[in-house]
């Protein structure tokens, strides 16, 4: 996760200038995050517009607010949870799945209580 070396603000996706302190010159570092967060919002995709996704419809894409910073949201699929069980604030943790060509793609699963 991109972190401002001046003020510590985390930003996702990465930006050229810190969204909080706007320091000049900008300075950033990569920070590890816990992979824990809460479900902020979601959609159940039934009509996929990209190759490779039609085979797995319907699937859930969520915005997950990471525990490290209020408002810090990442987008990823939310897997292994009944659609009816989706609710704001649901505790999630990251997992990684094969994205092809040697890539690993983050997804979120329900966090153990």
């Amino acid at each position: 996760m991109q972190r401002c070396a001046h003020c510590g603000f985390l930003t996702y996706p990465p930006v050229p200038v810190c969204s909080r302190c706007h320091a000049d010159p900008p300075a950033f570092e990569w920070a590890d995050v816990s992979g824990h967060g809460r479900l902020a919002t979601w959609t159940i995709v039934r009509d996929a517009f990209l190759p490779g996704f039609a085979d797995i419809t319907p699937y859930v894409v969520g915005e997950v607010e990471l525990v490290e910073q209020p408002g810090l949201r990442v987008v990823a699929r939310v897997v292994g949870i009944d659609h009816d069980a989706l609710r704001p604030g649901l505790a999630l943790r990251v997992d990684f799945v094969d994205g092809g060509d040697g890539t690993r793609v983050p997804v979120f699963v329900e966090a153990e209580p």
């Binding site: 919002t41 039934r46 190759p51 797995i56 319907p58 659609h83």
Partner: protein
């Protein structure tokens, strides 16, 4: 009504034309555009040679990666001026979001400053034969890398994230939205050039519509179409010599995103906060507030925009629009008399502006409201789009 906008009442819309809105036409988009612009200029009682300014926002809003050729998939003001063999005194392309509002704002400033006397504002929309947002990409880079690898693609799914959050936070349901969508289709079915002319929608058909990305169904999205709207604007003084009652630009505002990071173009908190900031600028410029508006035409390319705009502009409080639209408390305030995008097709803000013009000019025919002195037309998301108010 005296706000800080010094050009209020100085620039007028004096004529219009609209092509039929169809899934496809038998002529190229450029040809349809030239026909529509010529008709608008004639409607204004002018000769085409009088036109000395052109502007549009030519954005093609699809995510399919389609090749864009001027005169075929898009039509710029440059292309129009060239085809009409006019050397314009003023020519400007709007690059932001809320293309028709932005173009009207540019045209108003050009006329008020004296840079141009008669400006054509047009918007040409194209429906490709391929699917609008289906993209064959197999590798994602740049901004796409944050959404595509997760299967999040195209504006409907981004809007779905905002809409889910709205529904969860405030308790709105698809039953509430059925009122918005069937209402737009009901008025749109009375608009002669509409794709949906003569085809209103039943609530049950809305509620059983195919879902694209829950909670967005296919009917929560305006249908992709090919069509052109064109308007002629000039100064108050010149307008007084023309056949139709002038409709004046009374004020405007444009948004910018307040997003502090995020993958999609919208986030509910940002749309709400940014939208209220835009509204404050609008009402300060105009010198009046929402209670003065007789003809509020709010943007509805995705149905949740109706809620977001009504709340941002102050027609109702935050989180209350889904109830407000069921029974508008301000004496039946008509927010969708022109049918909007849901009732006309994907014309990107043209239906909103056109309805303001027709109602305020007294040209709305069977749909004419008894009182139509102040209109409002907006486009895109409240936080990043545009809004223009009009007066008689």
């Amino acid at each position: 009504m005296s706000g800080r906008f010094a050009a209020a009442g100085e620039v007028a819309v004096v004529g219009y034309a609209h092509s039929p809105i169809r899934r496809s036409h038998d002529v190229e988009l450029g040809v349809l555009t030239l026909r529509t612009i010529r008709a608008a200029v004639a409607d204004a009682g002018l000769d085409i040679a009088a036109i000395d300014g052109f502007t549009t926002g030519a954005l093609f809003p699809a995510s399919s990666g389609l090749r864009l050729r001027d005169g075929i998939e898009i039509v710029t003001g440059d292309w129009v001026a060239d085809q009409l063999r006019i050397q314009p005194r003023w020519l400007c392309g709007f690059q932001g979001l809320g293309q028709i509002c932005g173009s009207v704002i540019l045209a108003t400033e050009a006329i008020a400053s004296g840079a141009a006397d008669y400006v054509v504002v047009h918007r040409a929309m194209y429906n490709p034969p391929t699917r609008y947002h289906t993209n064959a990409m197999t590798h994602a880079a740049d901004a796409d890398q944050w959404s595509a690898p997760h299967g999040l693609w195209g504006p409907p799914s981004h809007m779905a994230l905002v809409y889910t959050e709205y529904m969860q936070r405030y308790g709105a349901t698809r039953e509430h939205m059925a009122t918005v969508v069937t209402g737009g289709r009901r008025t749109g079915s009375q608009v002669p050039w509409s794709h949906w002319f003569g085809r209103p929608l039943e609530r049950a058909d809305y509620l059983s519509a195919r879902m694209i990305a829950d909670p967005m169904s296919v009917l929560d999205c305006d249908i992709p179409v090919t069509g052109v709207g064109a308007f002629v604007l000039t100064s108050r003084e010149r307008a007084s010599d023309l056949p139709h009652k002038p409709v004046y630009v009374a004020g405007y505002a444009q948004g910018r995103s307040t997003t502090v990071g995020g993958v999609g173009p919208w986030r509910l908190d940002d749309v709400e906060e940014g939208g209220r900031a835009v509204a404050r600028i609008l009402w300060e410029n105009a010198g009046f507030g929402p209670e003065q508006v007789d003809v509020p035409q709010v943007y509805d390319a995705f149905s949740p925009f109706v809620y977001l705009w009504l709340e941002a502009l102050g027609f109702c409080d935050r989180g209350e629009a889904f109830e407000y639209v069921q029974d508008p408390p301000v004496s039946g305030l008509p927010f969708q008399t022109g049918g909007g995008a849901i009732g006309n097709g994907r014309m990107h803000g043209v239906p909103q502006m056109l309805e303001c013009y027709l109602q305020l000019a007294g040209r709305a025919g069977d749909r004419q409201l008894a009182r139509a002195e102040v209109g409002l037309a907006c486009q895109a998301a409240p936080s990043i789009g545009g809004v223009v108010v009009y007066s008689t």
